[in-house]
């Protein structure tokens, strides 16, 4: 699975993207966030306030209860501040 990170999520995790093999028990976005948070200090810091993290699957916004099945690319980022 390709994971991409932006803004302070990227800075805290320490890299912009990576390919990860996800365990089968990860069904939803929330499962993924919880699993990632256990991968090390950077991830833990980035994902400490999981409810603040916005997620996109295949470049479309999704809620945390969305299934990740069929995802090619999952993006994690903070609330947006463009405009």
């Amino acid at each position: 699975m390709k994971l991409v990170y932006f803004a302070w999520v990227r800075e805290r995790i320490g890299h912009a993207e990576e390919e990860l093999d996800l365990p089968d028990e990860i069904v939803t976005v929330a499962d993924l966030l919880a699993w990632l948070a256990g991968r090390g200090e950077g991830y833990e810091t980035a994902l400490k306030h999981a409810s603040a993290i916005r997620v996109a699957i295949n470049q479309e916004h999704v809620a945390h209860d969305a299934p990740i099945e069929g995802a090619r690319e999952i993006a994690l980022f903070p609330p947006m501040t463009g405009g």
């Binding site: 803004a7 302070w8 501040t81």
Partner: protein, 162 residues
């Protein structure tokens, strides 16, 4: 009402020219009665801000703005629509975003431009990082609740300006 038009959406590092974009949008046509031009600029925050660095999600940024723009064309009878968003380092006084909404009458053009900006601010994947005039890194700009409230005002509301 005729079929919704295809909006023009651009994500670019370089600046844009309001007058040129307006002229291009109106060129060769006489059906437009109202053209609303919104541009968002970088403020200097009372002299404390040296620059903003705008990070974005390539691919999704354009796709999401296009989704928002399409919703606007389905909701209001627009004759033409252009949305441009810049990325990279932007200094106070420089342009960040441009929305041009053209319609036969003003209300649809005003409302569509406001709708696009409200959704763009809360849903288009861009993030601003501040660089201070004193040379320090100011950190990431925080999202504001007022922007979420501005987005919600369009939900469950009858469409004006038709």
């Amino acid at each position: 009402m005729s079929a919704p038009i295809d909006p023009a959406v651009r994500i670019q590092r370089e600046d844009f020219d309001l007058a040129k974009e307006s002229a291009a949008l109106c060129a060769g046509r006489s059906d437009i009665g109202a053209l609303v031009t919104f541009s968002g600029l970088c403020r200097d925050e009372a002299g404390t801000l040296a620059a903003l660095e705008l990070e974005y999600y390539p691919g999704m940024a354009e796709a999401e703005i296009r989704r928002i723009a399409r919703q606007a064309t389905e909701r209001w009878p627009l004759n033409a629509l252009t949305v441009i968003h810049r990325h990279g380092k932007i200094r106070p006084g420089e342009n960040i975003v441009l929305v041009l909404a053209a319609s036969r009458h003003r209300q649809a053009a005003f409302d569509a431009a406001a709708f696009i900006m409200d959704f763009l601010k809360t849903r288009a994947p861009f993030w601003k990082k501040e660089y201070r005039s004193d040379g320090s890194e100011g950190g990431w700009v925080e999202a504001r609740d007022i922007d979420d409230a501005a987005t919600r005002r369009w939900q469950g509301q009858p469409t004006p300006g038709r």
